[in-house]
Subunit: 130 residues, 2 copies
Amino acid sequence: MSDSEKGDWQNTTIDSAQAKKNPETALAVKKITSLRQSIDNVDTAIVSLLAERFKYTSQVGVLKARAGFAPADYQREDHQITRLRRIAIEAGLDPEIAEMYREFVVTEAKRRHRRIADAGGDPGVLDVFA
Amino acid sequence: MSDSEKGDWQNTTIDSAQAKKNPETALAVKKITSLRQSIDNVDTAIVSLLAERFKYTSQVGVLKARAGFAPADYQREDHQITRLRRIAIEAGLDPEIAEMYREFVVTEAKRRHRRIADAGGDPGVLDVFA
């Protein structure tokens, strides 16, 4: 079997060679392609919202550093945990995933707050990606 | 100093006792409160979109399992890495954060795809949070 006949099974689930031989597989591939476009659209929206979120948290970081507040805020975090858990359940999302999301953004925001505080309230330390 | 006079400095950056004594701190607290409301609004939107994203990836998981495709798809992942990096830069987000987001959702989606495959294409294994 030549390389071109092997199909792309090893690298992708969208195996064009396999799909040609089996109409049921071809249908599954078509549906997966459409769903992936929707997933890409959701990702575009989420990445754009994350950009806005980090602009807001950067501003919070500057205000905290200038007022002498600590980067971490456990009372705020408790509020966020409870709130996001409730929103996740209402939206039909496993609350464990919402908690993983929260941990990811809060950890990253705190790390950036510390850098702003260490630079004496200068958000410039985060360069263009404040 | 009594407990009530100590302020809530240890637990929160919104230290009401400290803010009362200093108008500049009070202004910072006011601005942080407003920014936090915007952050909460962004989180509501993102968690709702994550709920939709996992509904889509669950459908992909069922289609993959029934067609006998592997849960992982490295060609697709390469496409997503390049695409999200570009969108992040355009949106003013550190592309490192977009990549952390991608790793988080893709890892979780693959873990769920494996569970669907192990259950013979039955999304019911994910209970109500498919």
